[in-house]
């Protein structure tokens, strides 16, 4: 006889069905999933960093220019500030959401978008400047990796701007529904994560590149 038979479970006491189960929390489930996406995006950047690392030896630049000859850290510093202020503005927007202020959220997101657009504008200008100098991805493996890393980040920022635009429309049309709030939280994670990636890019690509 198994021990379970010696101490039988009382059939009147046992709980077999969860009568008062409320189901899962939609926003927290959504947020967890977005964390998972951020993790995979982190791996994407890690791989690009690895490629940049492997392709940043002096021979990787073939006979073409090295970053020291074309990056402009002070110019890029303005980009950095634009992105950080954009994240800050988004943070204000999220603080306003806690008080339920629609105007505060919208203002924050608009400010965040403007600063994000400044970042993208400066990036495009910088790329055009480098291309006019003959610094293009086709020149060498090193430059290919430089462009891949920086422009994949810029593409993420661009997607973030489209997302913000969509969110502005949804806030105005629907107000703070469960879906909209969940999306705003996910967008915050996305935006902050892109800023963190930019810190690494600024340090390893622009500053390090300038000094080496």
């Amino acid at each position: 006889m198994s021990s379970a038979h010696e101490k039988p479970v009382d059939p009147d006491q046992v709980v077999l069905w969860s009568d008062d189960y409320e189901g899962h929390d939609v926003i927290s489930t959504r947020t967890f999933g977005f964390w998972m996406y951020i993790l995979s995006d982190g791996m994407l950047f890690a791989t690009l960093f690895a490629a940049y690392g492997v392709l940043s030896y002096s021979h990787s630049y073939y006979t073409g220019p090295t970053p020291a000859q074309f990056v402009a850290p002070w110019y890029t510093f303005i980009q950095t500030m634009a992105l950080f202020l954009s994240v800050l503005a988004y943070g204000f927007s999220m603080a306003a959401m806690k008080t339920g202020s629609k105007a505060g959220v919208i203002n924050g997101i608009v400010a965040s978008m403007v600063l994000g657009a400044v970042f993208i504008g400066l990036d495009i200008h910088d790329v055009l400047r480098m291309i006019s100098m003959g610094v293009t991805p086709e020149v060498s493996g090193g430059l290919s990796a430089f462009y891949a890393l920086t422009q994949v980040h810029a593409a993420h920022i661009f997607v973030g701007l489209i997302w913000m635009l969509v969110m502005l429309y949804q806030i105005l049309k629907k107000g703070f529904t469960e879906d909209v709030v969940g999306r705003l939280i996910s967008l915050r994670m996305f935006w902050q994560f892109q800023a963190v990636m930019w810190v690494f890019i600024y340090v390893f690509v622009y500053l390090w590149g300038y000094m080496s």
Binding site: S40, M43, T177
Partner: protein, 716 residues
Amino acid sequence: MLVNLPGPWSPLLGRLALSEIPYTNPILAPLFVIIVLAGIALVVGITYYGKWGYLWKEWFTTVDHKKLGIMYIILGLIMLFRGFIDGLMMRTQQMLAVGSGHNGMPLMGAIHGYLAPFHFGQIYSAHGLIMILLAATPLLVGIMNIIVPLQIGARDMAYPYLNALGLWITAAAVFLIMISLFVGDFSHNGWFGYAPIFELAYSPGVGVDYWIWTLELVALGTTLGSINFLATVVKMRAPGVTWTRLPVFTWTAVSANIIALTSFPCLQVALALVGADRYLGTHFFTAGFGGNLMLYTNLFWLWGHPEVYFVILPAFGMISEVIPTFSEKPIFGYITMVLASFAIAGVSWIVWLHHFFTMGMGPYVSTEFSVATMLVGIPTGVKVFNWTFTMYRGRLTFSSAMIWSIGALFLLLIGGLTGMMLSIPAINYMVHNSVFVVAHFHMMLLCIVYAVFSAIIFWFPKVFGFKLNEAWGKIMFWLFSAGTFLVFFPMFMLGFMGETRRLDWPFNLQWAPWFDIQEVGIAVYVLSVLAFLWLIYVSIRDRAENRVGADAWGTSRSLEWITDSPVPFYNFAMVPHVNHRDEAAWRREHGFSDKRPEKFAAIHMPNNTPVAIVIGALTFVIGFGLTWRIWWLTVAALVLTVLVMIYRSGKGDPGYIITAEEMEKMDRESRQKMDDGHAPLPKGGGYTGGTVTAYSAEVGDPGSQSTPPGNSRPLS
């Protein structure tokens, strides 16, 4: 920016031209005609029987995890067949082509055998890619899709719409690789590709482009799926399903999806960089201009090795469900089983270099990767011993699901031990790129296939409400095993005799007898395919006799076996409260098997959506447009995709409510439709009748000092 193409290009059709359709090829042209005719017959048939509405409503727009899982499995089985046909063609080529010179029977313009080297190259490339990413992966994802929510007591996956999206993007990848048969070529550089031969200068055709975009689409679909699985297990567990009560299969799904989530981005980046080289003229992997050839190989296998554990871990999980059920014992060493899964997942990240020891990274790096590779043997060994100890003194029932699982253990043993040999760099240098390696990883992948067939037979009654035919399941097993033996044991031999992989012309006449044996093995495999089809036919024909109740095997253990068979679309009428790790066994033990919920509550279910299949179709168009460099089409499809996503985001899904009264009615109907709930207990092995009592005791359980399972059941 855009590279200059060798050959014509037009803005409207890109590189596409009528000459790209191989209508003169004596294999592809008839195949194309057959497929078109079959397609027309299918369309006419569906129209005649008026089933389009049914297909659209019930399948194409569904977000039900079980139906999506079934479609994943069908997709996987079709691609398994396609990959098998590729294998058959390769075996036949080598059998015909072996010899020192012209073998006197030139066919189809080939000097040796019947396939020209370029064609042969496409076949082995497609075979590898299909088998790993479009057969094994969808089969495993499909089974996880069906079973994981059931095992944790959830009504669906965390994101039902994302689940559908993953399926249709994977389907888009399947369509892309299938269309490469009839429009243009496929890559001939092996399934993992070699730098720099995949560069535009050396592979000017569209084959490599097909390869890039097929892989990118699968990677995208699988990443979305892995996010969904992790969120489901973390957030959707029913009350009482604590982490230590998760079934081992769900644990392996968690560990596997952590691998998938973190490793697939490496593949996506590696291939995007190949794409940049081919489309934009960058120099990531070129032989000159500062490119680095081995960077590609490293990035690819940085994904590639975690990927092989992504496919093997769920297979281990399936074996871990089947063996306890048919041993009538709880899994031996549950905690070590879980830890071993995560150990394998962790080590998978630090072994990738063993795929190319011959890169020549020096003794220290080689040693590190050699030792790390050997470490994999420890958790895997733990698992094998746990399965063995589960069977030890158990009441074994050698049902067809069980023998497929036991077969998987044998293949795992052979594959594992040859893997240990290959982990030693000194040996690896000798057999690198020989068919010995090919035979080794086929043992591992066939271990997965065995586990998948075991799982399909095991869970089929849960999903469809009737069992598959036992006798034909066993016949198929023995045919398949004979085929495996006859094809791959000669391959080990040939590896030692020095045959390198991917030979369209094996020149050494002494190999001829081994190729002949392999061809016999392939013929036996063909018989096993027929046996499988017959198995499906016979089982559907006799379904009335094989209907099952909730507990289909009478000895089942985990939570999915307490709900009705077939599983109703809402999974559980009431969310269960879980009291034990082996909930079904525990309820059976305590006489609660027949208890049904008395109180019902309203539930919230997601609506069907056509958005997922539309986005899937658009991603196919994007892949096709990129492959043929039809820029307007690519951009249009991309913009449309984004617009559809925004539209769906704006619309949202309010879902719908099933009231408590409706739920009660549906539960009653589901009960009546089902068999009486008392499946005939399995016959055979050590089964002696009586009620089944063995269930695993947990720490802190009342009376957790259980007696040996052999004595735990009163004998009748």
